[in-house]
Subunit: 287 residues, 4 copies
Amino acid sequence: MSVSEPVAVLLLSCRDRPGLVSRISHFIFERGGNILDLDEHVDTAENMFFIRVAWSIGSASIPAEELSEAFRPLAKEFGAGWKIMIGNGNMRAALFVSRYDHCLQDILWRHSIGELALDIPLIVSNHPDLEPLAERYGIPYHHFPVTAATKTGVEQRELGLLEHHDIDTVVLARYMQVLTPRFVERFPSRIINIHHSFLPAFIGGNPYRQAFERGVKIIGATSHYVTEELDQGPIIEQDIVRISHKDTLLDLVRKGRDLERLVLARAVRLHSEHRILVNGKKTVVFD
Amino acid sequence: MSVSEPVAVLLLSCRDRPGLVSRISHFIFERGGNILDLDEHVDTAENMFFIRVAWSIGSASIPAEELSEAFRPLAKEFGAGWKIMIGNGNMRAALFVSRYDHCLQDILWRHSIGELALDIPLIVSNHPDLEPLAERYGIPYHHFPVTAATKTGVEQRELGLLEHHDIDTVVLARYMQVLTPRFVERFPSRIINIHHSFLPAFIGGNPYRQAFERGVKIIGATSHYVTEELDQGPIIEQDIVRISHKDTLLDLVRKGRDLERLVLARAVRLHSEHRILVNGKKTVVFD
Amino acid sequence: MSVSEPVAVLLLSCRDRPGLVSRISHFIFERGGNILDLDEHVDTAENMFFIRVAWSIGSASIPAEELSEAFRPLAKEFGAGWKIMIGNGNMRAALFVSRYDHCLQDILWRHSIGELALDIPLIVSNHPDLEPLAERYGIPYHHFPVTAATKTGVEQRELGLLEHHDIDTVVLARYMQVLTPRFVERFPSRIINIHHSFLPAFIGGNPYRQAFERGVKIIGATSHYVTEELDQGPIIEQDIVRISHKDTLLDLVRKGRDLERLVLARAVRLHSEHRILVNGKKTVVFD
Amino acid sequence: MSVSEPVAVLLLSCRDRPGLVSRISHFIFERGGNILDLDEHVDTAENMFFIRVAWSIGSASIPAEELSEAFRPLAKEFGAGWKIMIGNGNMRAALFVSRYDHCLQDILWRHSIGELALDIPLIVSNHPDLEPLAERYGIPYHHFPVTAATKTGVEQRELGLLEHHDIDTVVLARYMQVLTPRFVERFPSRIINIHHSFLPAFIGGNPYRQAFERGVKIIGATSHYVTEELDQGPIIEQDIVRISHKDTLLDLVRKGRDLERLVLARAVRLHSEHRILVNGKKTVVFD
């Protein structure tokens, strides 16, 4: 949007009932706001209401904290999960990587040209390999070697680091470690993973090899929120590419790299623009 | 949606200003409605506001006419173009065809299995060829041979027929005649055409031959509203398919047939569900 | 191709070794043939050779039987699986259906306009519902009610019918019965099924419901050869369509219908043009 | 391919006549070669023959020069355009850029991980902006400021530089200068451009603005060989992405960046693997 005025975004879900849109839009109107983009969805089977509203705050704007404060009684009345963001307050994300560079490379480049509304205060890795890439973009790189024996302790230190940096979201950019439930529960619907298959096909290890051996004609990549169950979290975004009998396993890996970085970048973008609400095991994506 | 209650849909556009969503949603709430699906868009460059709201009318529902009547003052105040539809009142569409059967076949079949919220009281053609297909689906077929000399008179009779049948929308399902401005102006943003190219590439005649000779690697189809300028109307929907050096001109025609019928069917569906608003030379499509 | 001369097609696979293309192309050249289209693939991991050659037979052409006879010694030397087809000898296919009409409708329409190089001498069904559709296209419809108790006997009679009609290929156009191994082994790599999911995701029953509940953002359809293991046969063709949180289960079914008929039609076309070779659990598709 | 033996590739086109495949494959067989991948196409309308053959040379291999020397009489007899490449002899490419970094970034990264069989001895630019990026990948960067007055002289110097570095192919990775005919004719079918539209739609300047104003629902990118006519050269590869009324002009530019780099990378890959033959104003792409 080319509007130069500050923009606020409300993301909210609650049980459905008549009058929700009316109350919310009236709240905005009363404070001099002008709605720029509103997307609403009712899951009639679950009787759940989901909304994303973006509005220009206008000259009579009030600070973000006060806006949230003012909205709190309404949200309480609705029994809603919600947040209000003011445009220039970027989400703070930590990137977790292992050895593959394609996803990290892509996110850092997009970030550098202003494509992603994210602050990236740090990168965490269980390997030292990608430190030079992090340095090139001037982002601190924290190397935590992990073994089965040290895993719990390492995660503890990582959590401390994330807290210290006031991290909101963790992006697993081909991070090859399974996070423990304790870690996951600290970031509910705020850990984004990229799985290199068209989930739920080829869950688990070596999905390209599985796809190659099954002889599929299309491969995919899936970005999802991480939950305690491996590869079972709510799906944010998927995409695919055609393959043929001519493609070797290496060709699948090569084609898949392009998919992975595009799908992860889209998911991160949607998340950072507050366009995703979780609905049980699924997502509502207002794109 | 599986809701069995009657649903109303408002489709509206006007100059943007604060409070529009609030006023509209309050109007619905006051009358006991519960919003099921709301999609809103502001074109900040043009300062235009677009909205589609679907709501369940509830037990305290009032007749469609009264709902429209009740809304009229608000719309007038907004200076809006608008309409309100009650769910079970189907749009009445006439299909215009020539000799190709694939688009007609597809629309009639979809209609027969209840995919399209349309009544199709008649089919009009400048050729007799597709009458058996029309008969199979039990739809009256009107054959109007057209020559340059008779064109004006024929259109006059066709317009009479459309008026007689209270036709709202005309679907050109590969109708190979250019309509006169006089005809077009009678159905503003209510004549849907399918052009067998990825517009604006290959405007005019023989687009598959043009595509074949240019050596493109992808062909397309475009559904748009008809305006006075040939192939220049607001685009509703487009799609594409890959081709290669192996494809002959006949292969393009064959692959294009599938595209044409899918793209036209999607456009007709979007139109019949009141999901399209025209914004100058473009469309806003709430899908 | 616009060539009016008769065209022969050789489809062959064998263990790889030097000189195969040279021997085969020399065989064609010796008999006055001119190669129009040659596609070859070597699976270096499995050391297998696959080829499809189409050539114009020319004026000095010999009958199809003699061509096959002449090629036999070469094929024997190679230890090859192979066949030679002369252009105007259509494959004979039986369509098996249950109650859904979309795939049958699509194949019969394509067949009627000459898109598919198939003869369709009969349609077999375990339900009477689609007989009127078959009649419209003038194709005999055989209704065999099936119960668990009668299944073996019914299949026996069906096999007799297929043999009587000299059927080469069976197309399961949403046939909702699982064929017994005895039936399957009679048509190795010659029974084509359409499964309404992106295999191997959502194997088995109700794949749209499974997809809906998992919250995927893309659904697919898969056409494959039938083997004894359910939904495990070599995949011929797949395609996908995007869905969103707005799509209900019925929307998935609707969008899936379009996918299913397109994917099945492509698979049938590839098979009828002798473009598919089976390589273990996979296919080589020369499209 | 995982074969470790050296591989040779023949790329050839000539007027069609019987016996071409036989003669070529026999030539390979005689020298102990084993064909791994053969793709052939006959344009029956133009009576032209196109072939790409890749074969493992085997232990009795002869040097690349001798292979070409040995093939020369055959090619002469056919009146063919042709070349033979031995696997480990990379194509030498110069990248031309201006200020946009996304295509350069993508090619250099792919090159760095071994995705592209290219040597890139130098980068040429009319702006200094991307020199740091070139340095990061250790590739010499030559900055030639260009004005209308100096253009001819600058191109002269660039041509000298390309000759000095024995450059085979020029990749215009969003190079914002039109090359003169004199430059173009020095690299026939060896200058690859990326145009940020779905050609032939939106030829010339500002294609994203043109697309935005026309209200298309899909945008594209096109990679083509450069000829004297602007944006008219043979198309190598195209791809598209969906857009909607929500997308601003900046969104089109953003989505287009991903398209441009993917389409250009694919075209460069196809070219570097000797998979493209030019057929008049079109290409034959053996992918």
